[in-house]
């Protein structure tokens, strides 16, 4: 990477800060005492976070979001990788048809299944449970498609060698394919995790019990239902918003490259 003219770099930094200013200011605001904020003064405090975590249960929502997004990612990526492997390596009757059915889900708007999925889960008594939040989000046609393309790029000779050594198909997948496809699997995993972390409409319909709120639902409710004195308590809401953003933000900073590669590979290939 070329380090360019310091002036240009400085300007770029300023432009970036202006673009992000609403979000940056919201984080700044979350550390202000509400009364001072409305009086136009500065007073740093952690009270908003204490309030969000204590009285408004954001620690619980955080835990729920981690559980739901984590399980959706692990189960979803496992199933996608298994299917991708079979689609990439086997010719089998109905294989093309099934692969077509997987690809077609990319074109199907998820909202057509909103009411039916609600009814399905009501029938088996899984509304207001973790399972109810997780199950409809598991299947991911894009991940399966993307991983299949990646696995097709891995030389078959590696599989053959493993079969010679007496490996079973699932051992080939686990010992040969998965280690080589690890970068692709990680990119996709990250993408699925962030998508699920930010999912809103499904938890909104599937969960009524406060114990099971994810961060997104908790934040939307707090914003809607918690007016402070003479209006919304913005610093408190922004503390809750910061808790909602932060885990993904940290992950993004750590692994930006992986994520960007995952997203662009899917688009340009």
């Amino acid at each position: 990477m070329k380090p360019d003219n310091p002036l240009v770099t400085g300007l770029a930094l300023v432009a970036g800060l202006i673009f992000l200013s609403p979000a940056l200011y919201s984080i700044w605001m979350s550390f202000q005492a509400a009364d001072a904020f409305y009086a136009g003064k500065l007073k740093f405090t952690l009270d908003n976070y204490a309030l969000a975590i204590g009285q408004y249960h954001f620690a619980r929502y955080l835990l729920n979001s981690i559980i739901v997004s984590g399980l959706v990612t692990v189960i979803g990526i496992t199933l996608s990788t298994m299917a991708a492997y079979a689609f990439a390596r086997y010719e089998f009757p109905g294989g093309n048809f099934l692969f077509g059915a997987v690809i077609a889900t990319l074109m199907i708007p998820s909202h057509i299944s909103l009411i039916p999925n609600y009814l399905t889960l009501a029938k088996v008594d899984l509304l207001d449970t973790y399972a109810g939040l997780i199950l409809p989000a598991i299947s991911n046609g894009f991940a399966a498609f993307f991983l299949r393309q990646y696995i097709r790029g891995i030389p078959r000779a590696l599989d053959e060698a493993a079969y010679m050594d007496g490996a079973r198909p699932w051992q080939v997948l686990w010992r040969v394919i998965v280690p080589i496809a690890k970068p692709a699997i990680l990119s996709m995993g990250l993408y699925v995790f962030i998508t699920e972390w930010n999912n809103y409409i499904w938890p909104l319909v599937a969960v009524g019990k406060e114990d099971l709120y994810t961060l997104q639902i908790g934040l939307a409710r707090l914003y809607r239902l918690n007016p402070g004195e003479g209006g919304i308590d913005w610093p408190l809401v922004m503390a809750a918003s910061t808790i909602t953003i932060l885990p993904v933000l940290i992950g993004f900073v750590l692994i930006e490259r992986h994520l960007v590669r995952g997203i662009t590979m899917g688009a340009v290939k």
């Binding site: 199933l79 909103l114 914003y223 662009t264």
Partner: protein
């Protein structure tokens, strides 16, 4: 060596989830859309196309379709033009380009609910950043989210802010695929910067543009979160997008028949858009090496 049923075992779990949570629901929606039901009553009488007729006769549906179409067909082209211009500056591998790419991309991975809440503050009448800036240059307070003529434009702005970085990243990947020789050739021919942009860059990233156009329009037709958090479809229906109407019909009014009919119509609209895309892309886009 692998046995005959091995591949089926590998694909079965994924296929099972897809069938239960994607394909059967399409059939369920079709079935419910010709019935009358409120979630509770034991029977669901068949009413034919009554739900569709009610929808197509209602001001509510046409308003919602109009608002959604404006949202999609105004915001997407603006975003793509902006994104291509920005991408052609940020395609270089320099520190400043890297910083700006990171800044632009951050909103895309940020929670949409957070973004909606943050911009509800930015555009709140009394304490918001937008009105503070207006006051600083001597303007009057604007009730951004309470004025039916303005609220939709605020949502377009917020969605642009969120999605722009994604478009830029995809365009950069598209631009990187264009060979430098073409630029050199255009420069030798004596083209200015603008000329090269119009004659080389724009046509060569056409496949990327079509890709972004289609997925962005489809995504715009399904917008829900920022509407639900920021305006609830108001004021006076000015931001009542299709999915917001679907949510209200199904989960607030419990009119399952009408909600399902609306879902089927939304599905039909998006499939039509996808079909147009397949036709157009199939014909026009093949500049790639």
């Amino acid at each position: 060596m692998p046995r005959k049923f091995t591949p089926y075992l590998f694909v079965l779990p994924l296929i099972a989830f897809i069938v239960v949570f994607t394909y059967i629901p399409i059939l369920t929606s079709l079935n419910l859309s010709v019935r009358e039901w409120d979630f509770l009553s034991p029977d669901k009488p068949f009413v034919g196309f009554e739900n569709y007729r009610l929808l197509l006769d209602s001001h509510e549906f046409w308003n919602s379709l109009r608002v959604t179409a404006i949202f999609a067909f105004v915001s997407v082209p603006i975003r793509l033009v902006l994104a291509l211009l920005i991408a052609s500056f940020l395609v270089r591998e320099t520190l400043s380009a890297r910083i700006l790419r990171g800044a632009l991309f951050l909103p895309f991975v940020t929670s949409t609910v957070s973004i909606a809440v943050i911009f509800s503050w930015v555009f709140s009448t009394d304490y918001g950043m937008a009105n503070a800036l207006l006051r600083a240059i001597g303007g009057e307070k604007v009730p951004w989210l309470q004025d039916p003529a303005i609220a939709l434009w605020v949502l377009i702005l917020v969605n642009t802010w969120k999605q722009l970085g994604y478009d830029v990243i995809i365009y950069i990947a598209g631009l990187q695929a264009i060979s430098n020789e073409l630029y050199d050739a255009a420069a030798v021919d004596g083209g200015g910067r603008l000329h090269v942009f119009r004659r080389v860059t724009v046509p060569l990233v056409m496949p990327t543009t079509y890709f972004l156009l289609v997925i962005s329009v489809i995504e715009a037709f399904q917008i829900f979160t920022i509407v639900n958090v920021m305006t609830h479809g108001g004021p006076a229906g000015a931001t009542d997008m299709l999915v917001n109407m679907l949510y209200r019909t199904g989960f607030t009014l419990f009119d399952i028949g009408k909600g399902s009919a609306l879902a089927v119509l939304l599905f039909a609209i998006l499939i039509t858009l996808a079909w147009i895309k397949a036709r157009v892309i199939g014909r026009k886009v093949h500049y790639e090496a």
